[in-house]
Symmetry: C2
Amino acid sequence: MTITAPSKSRTTEDKLGELRERLLEISDLGFAGAVLGWDQATYMPSGGAPARGRQKAMLSRLGHERLTDPALGRLIDAVQPFAETLPYDSDTACLVRVARRKFERALKVPADFVARRSTFSSVSYNAWTKARPANDFATMRPHLERAVEFSREYAQFFAPFDHITDPLIDGSDEGMTTVSVRALLDELRRELVPIAKAICDQPVADDTCLRGPFPEAPQLAFSMLAIKSVGYDLERGRLDKTHHPFCTKFSDGDVRITTRVRENDLSEALFSSLHEAGHALYEQGVAAELVGTPLGHGASAGVHESQSRLWENIVGRSRGFWEHFYPAVQSAFPDQLGAVSLDTFYRAINKVQRSLIRTDADEVTYNLHVMLRFGLETELLESRLAVKDLPDAWRARMSSDLGVAPTDDKDGCLQDVHWYGGWIGGGFQGYTIGNILAAQFHAAAVVAYPGIPKQIAQGEFAPLHDWLRTNIYQHGAKLKPAELVERVTGTPMRIGPYVAYLRAKYGELYTLPAV
Amino acid sequence: MTITAPSKSRTTEDKLGELRERLLEISDLGFAGAVLGWDQATYMPSGGAPARGRQKAMLSRLGHERLTDPALGRLIDAVQPFAETLPYDSDTACLVRVARRKFERALKVPADFVARRSTFSSVSYNAWTKARPANDFATMRPHLERAVEFSREYAQFFAPFDHITDPLIDGSDEGMTTVSVRALLDELRRELVPIAKAICDQPVADDTCLRGPFPEAPQLAFSMLAIKSVGYDLERGRLDKTHHPFCTKFSDGDVRITTRVRENDLSEALFSSLHEAGHALYEQGVAAELVGTPLGHGASAGVHESQSRLWENIVGRSRGFWEHFYPAVQSAFPDQLGAVSLDTFYRAINKVQRSLIRTDADEVTYNLHVMLRFGLETELLESRLAVKDLPDAWRARMSSDLGVAPTDDKDGCLQDVHWYGGWIGGGFQGYTIGNILAAQFHAAAVVAYPGIPKQIAQGEFAPLHDWLRTNIYQHGAKLKPAELVERVTGTPMRIGPYVAYLRAKYGELYTLPAV
């Protein structure tokens, strides 16, 4: 990028260049660590595990050392006056602003804490991978107690705050607080609970057509067709199989996704591929010149999740999407789906029911799972709930919120990795923010281009993709989430479009209570 | 490792610990770079290339910075007196000795030179990948001229020396010099030329049985069977496909190999897999406690190549190997090989002929290709040969040495990557040293365990593998190549066993001139 502002001295340009170089090295250390992580999840032989953990930790330590180097702070200070003369949303002004936030946040956390927590996190995660299948909460209890302590200790580095969870939320969804998240979730809850209850009291949709068995190869081939069709660039990405699907980025030219296949569930590979492709479209769409800086990725956890949910649910589970793709999936699986009508298939992939597992939950009940976790983790951090009482609290809350409770902890409070990776707080609200923003962004796109739903039914995804790229993706993390939402949709984040979307879609499939 | 020698103070133990920690970080930076390189060659989408080059260069720069850190030198100095009280071949004495050699060699090369050469190397390599298929030597000429300059400049950092090529040879085959390599090659040449001439004057073996077509999947399955059988541990490794086969190491628990498949050449995947598995057996066999130090890999280029050639040729192309495996390969390819006798197959995989391409050459003529390159690169470095005259010199030498000359440069002086990656000198002698040592080590193993050939014919590779692991692999780079050869075989490197091996094997297939 050429800087042409007249007030900038040669020295400032040099310093900006040095700042960019330092940030690129920090970014590249992160990308290198991501390659090691991707390999670990995809192709690494079991014997590679011990050294790989050490090597990833080393790269992350080197990145943290550079991010907390006082020389970086001096550079940011030196270019700040110049950056303040530039428009708020110019690349350079954003770069300096976001670099400062990253630097100052990193400085608050002692290197010793980072190392201790990283070690603890591996130990706890490894214990959980065995304890969950064994339904063994007792083993995880001391780990979870330490995780609460670690999270409280971490939050204290950012004191003062109104609520202990605030710094944890702010780390992934900048600008949100415990109060604002709670208000958002409560408002949504009031709308969702009656809808979910009404639907769950009606007969459950028949989804036996999704049970197959469906062989792996054509499932993967169809997933590839779907993600290519929506715009995922396979010259700058690839699809592999892992135990848990994810999206990862190594550069602007290499954004990969993974999926998992179940022979007895056609929706697994397909929708997890579309979900991760949504994250990947976002990352592939960030302007190349931002990648390698702290602006070179999505704006926040919630905004990122809005793109995975938009492409997975609002697009991928829409009737229009299947008007286009159903013949292709039928001919890939003629024995299994040849005699199944589009309507039956559509109802099956949008089946709503009371369920125990968040990641398998439908669009209507999913957020109730998130609310449960947000509520419990807040109570844990406030010391209003003791870890030993978590399993009972989980069951009680499941019963009251979802009308179903797990008989064991495996499908209860042991189900999600988040807490057992050592992070209590800040990790769940992004999922619901994502659902809300997905609908809000989609509604704005349709206002701008009313033809989008019809285009999707014809297999044309470029108009929606282009709108999202132009308005959201290319800007990376230049703006705060709230600024981005306001610019793109004209209002702050609001649940209206999401509730309207759910009511319209599910009102067609079920009888809903009147508004 | 616990250090128990009484003369060692607490301070020395601390310093040894710190030395090991620093060396582990240098090693891990190298391993992380190797993961990035493996991914680049196997699964990386094309869009990932530009950033990947930069990220690998960064990791290698960070490693070089640490290797030339004066604090590392001070630590080595501080522990040296203690190390000198230990037996010569104790782990710690070797560690300090080899770390010093690495540190002092690295110090001699300015960081600026490393960076300039690394950039040049990428540019030249990329140009070559296009120029070779286009048969375009003119484009490569200036690159090659710069490569000669770079190599001469590099050698000067190690002045004084007897010959400009000496430092380059010493870097990969420690202890060898231009004089000693030339003497070795000349001695071998006198033995080989009459044998090669005699064989090439006899009718060429019929290898149409190897032309297939052979589908990829069963070829890879048979390669997997073969490499597992010889002892390659797939829980600490894996086999993938790449354009050029290679072996790479990320830790003691993760040593990977790659192969390539040609549908019209059964020997390609099979023997390149066995070749790389030979390298991998060596690396998997290095004692775990040495990995992460400068001792944690093979002793030299030549000793490494001895293991790839031993498993590929002395074992993999032996009659005994195929007495065991031929039924399996026949049943994998019943249409292609069902009616082909073991004898015909054995003659086909050991076909000797005048050929243009080194990597496709047979055991008898292969070393003549190496001698040609060693001769020409020495003349280039001595300035006795100008780059512009290289194509003609290549053709003349091919005609006189191999009795066949390329009509173009693609199959002539453009064929090998080495020079076009920016390294002239030191890169070829290891192949012939490897052939010589393969026979010398194998002969020593058979003296120790005369049953080895019969065991191989029964599919039992563990006795040979165990002997090699015990005598060579586990020691990593603790000893200099010459020390290792003398300890393992009782004599210095000598061509006798290799010539005897060739005479015995090919004397059975062809009429050879009398000794």
